[in-house]
Amino acid sequence: MEKLYLLVPMAPLLGAIIAGLFGQRIGLVWSHRTTIALVALSLFASIVIFIDVLQGNTYNGSVYTWMTSGETVFEVGFLIDTLTATMMVVVTGVSLMVHVYTIGYMHGDPGYQRFFSYISLFTFSMLMLVMSNNFLQLFFGWEAVGLVSYLLIGFWYTRPTATYANLKAFLVNRVGDFGFLLGIGLVLMHFGTLDYALVFSHAGHMSSQSIEIIPGESWMLLTVICLLLFVGAMGKSAQFPLHVWLPDSMEGPTPISALIHAATMVTAGIFMVARMSPLFEFSETALSTVLVIGGITTLFMALVAVVQNDIKRVVAFSTLSQLGYMTVALGASAYSVAIFHLMTHAFFKALLFLGAGSVIIAMHHEQDMRKMGGLKQYMPITFATMFIAALASAGVPGFSGFFSKDAIIEAVHFSEIPGADFAYFCVLSTVFVTALYTFRLMFMTFYGQPRMDSHTREHLHESPRVVTLPLIALAVPTVVAGWFIGPMLFGDYFADVIHVQAQHDVVARMGEAYTGIFGMIGHAFVTLPFWLAVAGIFTAWFLYQYKTGWPAKIRKIAGPVYTLLDRKYYIDELYSWLFARGSRALSSLLWKYGDIKLIDGFFVNGSARAVAWFATIARRFQSGYIYHYAFSMIVGVFILMSLWLFHF
């Protein structure tokens, strides 16, 4: 089995190396064949491992010793349990779909091989992240996915917006990583190891330890650690206030928006916190923070999605909001529910993105929904699959998103952690907003009168099979993935992986009321979330199908609110003024005054000038005239004699 574990990440790495270094030599076709075959192999191995894990065969072992320092041994190794295995299947599965889809989407792009190399490299990095059995390798994967994300957002490097977006994404993520690394540092310092199993087993008696970061202020050690780790999660999983990079990341090609910025990489933070559940459970403060941050992100990002006109940006803000849902679940100690939503979201959001990509191809890379409309009849497969994704996203009973989202709302409802009331309000009201923006997208794109120019309209057609096949393949789990809610949440699926303390265990309480998926669907019709979703869909229909003049009127009436949402609460403007301009100004100041004027000007060149000045004076005594020297000699003799006469 150990060789199989190694095969899972190494196969895509090999693909990335082949396509990256020899892509030009082996050509377009062999580049995609090689990478796809290797990712498929990785998926196959992941499924085998998944089945093996279901039979109770978990694994925790090291591959090689990375480094030793002092008494500490840093290792690279794998931890294979149900959480890892689930992530492995999701990552390789979505990755394979995206690889296939890319053949169609990137057709004719000069960077074709490079793109395949990058997405395979991403798959490798993401697998290293989820399969890690220690914090160091986690950080490696964490930064490596950040690197690939940087490379892919800037894939079309001649576009100024793309290279701006990728720099921004990397730097904002680095702010998160800054906290994350300090968290890892505290773990290493206090636990003496970075190995998950050892750290988690000592978490109990570390819970009484406190730490003084600010002298005189004693804080609980685990709270500080968890908060620092969560800063990392906020960067990677784009939680408020570190969310600003994700909407801009849409500058990258659509397949990677689906793979990286929706389905997998951005969920790394969620995965990490779930993995760290044995630590987070000891800190109510940390959980409470997670809840509130998640709640803010859920509601406020969803609201922005309502006013976006770029089809990809709608989906991007939707992703932010859905990540908020997952974060809320984490804060409510419902880690398994968060992972469950992570899984269903990976499928329906990847589908939504790839569908949007299919639309964009048909529209000749036009992304503005105001220029679309009526696409239903031209692209039936894209429409049908996206419709399924929209239903799942809106949380219509029976579809995957319904089960996971409902479970989150329920979990928060039960939670007694401070902040849960606020988060409950956020997640509940977002149900309406989600249904509204999702179906706004559907209506504006697929229904009504076509609004594109005649040239585009004449060339409208369904995308090629390499594009539609992945859509169909993803539509299946978009429907069925939710049906596994029983065994995944209420069985003992995550029993040995996720640790929840009894007083936080909302999932167990939900389990008592659980009566199977049909019971859940039936019950939905008498609960608020269902009617909120219906109201959202109805509102979307009303505004964008029935009274199409109304949105403009509403925009006029609610002017300031609309502007606030349209400008995304002015957070980008604030950051670019405060951090980008601020650090540049500080940099200039330090350089021009500190280095050039003070150190170099005053001290260095100043001492050179002082020497020169002294030398010009001293030089005058060396005139070379005998009578000058004779005169100074006489003066000297006179002074010496006077001293001798008067003092002795």
Binding site: Y64, T65, W66, M67, T68, S69, G70, E71, T72, L136, F139, F140, E143, A144, L147, Y150, L151, G154, Y157, T158, P160, T163, L167, F170, L171, R174, V175, D177, F178, L181, L182, G185, L186, L188, M189, I211, I213, S583, R584, L586, S587, S588, L590, W591, G594, D595, I599, D600, F603, V604
Partner: protein, 493 residues
């Protein structure tokens, strides 16, 4: 000695002899001169390899020792030996020399033999600094290393080379003279010994320790360079030819770091502990302040020079944490910085040779014309930003882990490099490499030649290998570092 063979002498004198031969050959036949230089440099690297192979990493004593009388009356010996600290540095130096020779292959057209000769001779001298166990021998090599670099900057440098060369020379000389005073004091107190290892055991009262520490510190801090005595470095780098910058950043800065480990810490351990706060403070200022200053640089070489100072801040920070993470991390950082800064300067050199400009604003969209180069530059930029999987991460990670044990805020400020390092490196990369072709000159760029490819590929491998598997490097220095830590913990009053 290895089986009675004076290996260290060979490592020191072989490049010097080759350098002298190259000098004598002159520029009559450039092809022969160049090939002979390359043979000398590669031979210098090959003879250094047995140092690693034959090194016994289980003992902390000096190995491959050689000892013969030099000046009998003054008790000066030709005394050589290496331990886990100096051995990797010698290897780094011998590794860099062939790269520098190849880098200057076609670019240097005037006084080729003198250029190549200077680098070969300097390589031998630097090996001498790292291998000397006698203070006089050390000091001789130490000062001698200034001369070739002074000439390299002054002869093959840019328009303002004379100012830069003199600034470089005076700055470093000023520091070194105080070291000489300290060495003479130690010679007196040890009753006539110039053996550095004797000094390690010598009891010294506190006041004297503090004074000696400060004298050494000035010498080494200028070399590293630490804030605020760093301003010679950007000027020297900007004016130096590419090869000069590579050696300056990759090797000469390490002399300062090495000095702290060989002299300051073991000779004056109590003063080191007493003044650690000052050194840590200066190091953190280097990391944060210089990291910020690097952001707004308009000249690529200046930017990388400032980045160098900022990264070397991790080295001095690691030294004065007095724990294994810090010390070993600082060592790893020195080696890794040798690869990365060398590679970064080579990358700028590649661009400069084509465009004759180092101004960031003259570039833009280079990737369109030089995709292979852009890929290499990306790797080194990421390594410079400390990405895990590259060597740049290992040292920084270890030093941050070491500093959090001492004080959370040390780690906090040190870890800011995660943000600043990425900001200044990638912002420069974006402006130079990405975008549409900016002007006619960029339009005419040719991608890297096979010669340039080979140097960058070797460095890329080194950067990745050390990042993915640093164990072989940390393994050889464990015992030496542990021994040094124990030594520092013992009072010498």
């Amino acid at each position: 000695m290895l089986f009675g063979f004076p290996l260290l002498s060979l490592i020191i004198w072989l490049p010097i002899i080759f350098g002298l031969v190259v000098l004598v050959m002159g520029d009559r036949n450039l092809k022969v001169t160049r090939w002979l230089s390359l043979v000398g440099a590669v031979a210098g690297f090959l003879v250094a390899l047995p140092l690693y192979g034959g090194f016994d990493s289980s003992v902390s004593t000096m190995q491959f020792t050689e000892r013969s009388v030099w000046f009998e009356r003054l008790n000066v010996f030709y005394d050589l030996g290496v331990d886990g600290i100096s051995m990797p540095l010698i290897l780094l130096n011998c590794f860099t020399t062939p790269l520098v020779v190849i880098a200057g292959w076609e670019v240097i057209r005037e006084r080729v033999s003198q250029y190549m000769g200077a680098f070969l001779i300097m390589s031998g001298i630097v090996n001498g600094v790292f291998a000397s166990l006698d203070a006089v021998l050390f000091y001789t090599f130490w000062e001698a290393s200034l001369i070739p670099m002074f000439i390299i900057i002054g002869v093959w440098g840019g328009p303002n080379r004379v100012y830069a060369a003199i600034k470089f020379f005076l700055y470093t000389l000023l520091g070194s003279l105080l070291m000489l005073v300290a060495l003479i004091y130690l010679y007196q107190t040890s009753e006539g010994s110039f053996s550095i290892l004797d000094y390690h055991q010598l009891p010294i009262p506190m006041t004297a320790q503090i004074l000696i520490f400060i004298a050494f510190m000035l010498a080494f801090a200028v070399k590293v360079p630490m804030w605020p005595v760093h301003t010679w470095l950007p000027d020297a780098h900007v004016e130096a030819p590419t090869g000069g910058s590579v050696v300056l950043a990759a090797i000469l800065l390490k002399l300062g770091g090495y000095g702290f480990l060989r002299f300051s810490l073991p000779i004056t351990p109590d003063a080191s502990q007493e003044l650690a706060w000052l050194l840590i403070l200066l190091s953190l200022v280097a990391v944060v302040y210089i990291g910020l200053v690097a952001l707004m640089q308009q000249d690529m070489k200046k930017l990388i020079a400032y980045s160098s100072v900022s990264h070397m801040g991790f080295v001095t920070l690691g030294f004065f944490l007095f724990n294994a993470y810090g010390l070993e991390g600082a060592m790893v950082q020195m080696i890794s910085h040798g690869f990365i800064s060398g590679a970064m300067f080579l990358c700028v050199g590649v661009l400069y040779d084509r465009m004759h400009s180092r101004q960031i604003s003259d570039y833009g969209g280079v990737v369109n014309k030089m995709p292979v180069f852009a890929a290499f530059f990306m790797l080194f930029a990421m390594a410079n930003a400390g990405l895990p999987g590259t060597s740049g991460f290992v040292g920084e990670f270890m030093v941050i882990m070491g500093s959090i044990e001492v004080n959370f805020w040390y780690a906090f400020f040190a870890a800011l490099t995660l943000i600043f390092g990425a900001a200044y490196t990638l912002w420069m990369y974006k402006r130079v490499i990405f975008g549409a072709v900016a002007n006619q000159k960029v339009e005419g760029l040719q991608d890297i030649s096979r010669r340039e490819f080979s140097i960058l590929a070797i460095l890329a491998l080194a950067v990745l290998l050390l990042g993915i598997y640093p164990l072989p490097l940390t393994e050889v220095m464990h015992v030496t570092v542990d021994n040094l830590l124990e030594h520092i913990a013992r009072s010498k009053l």
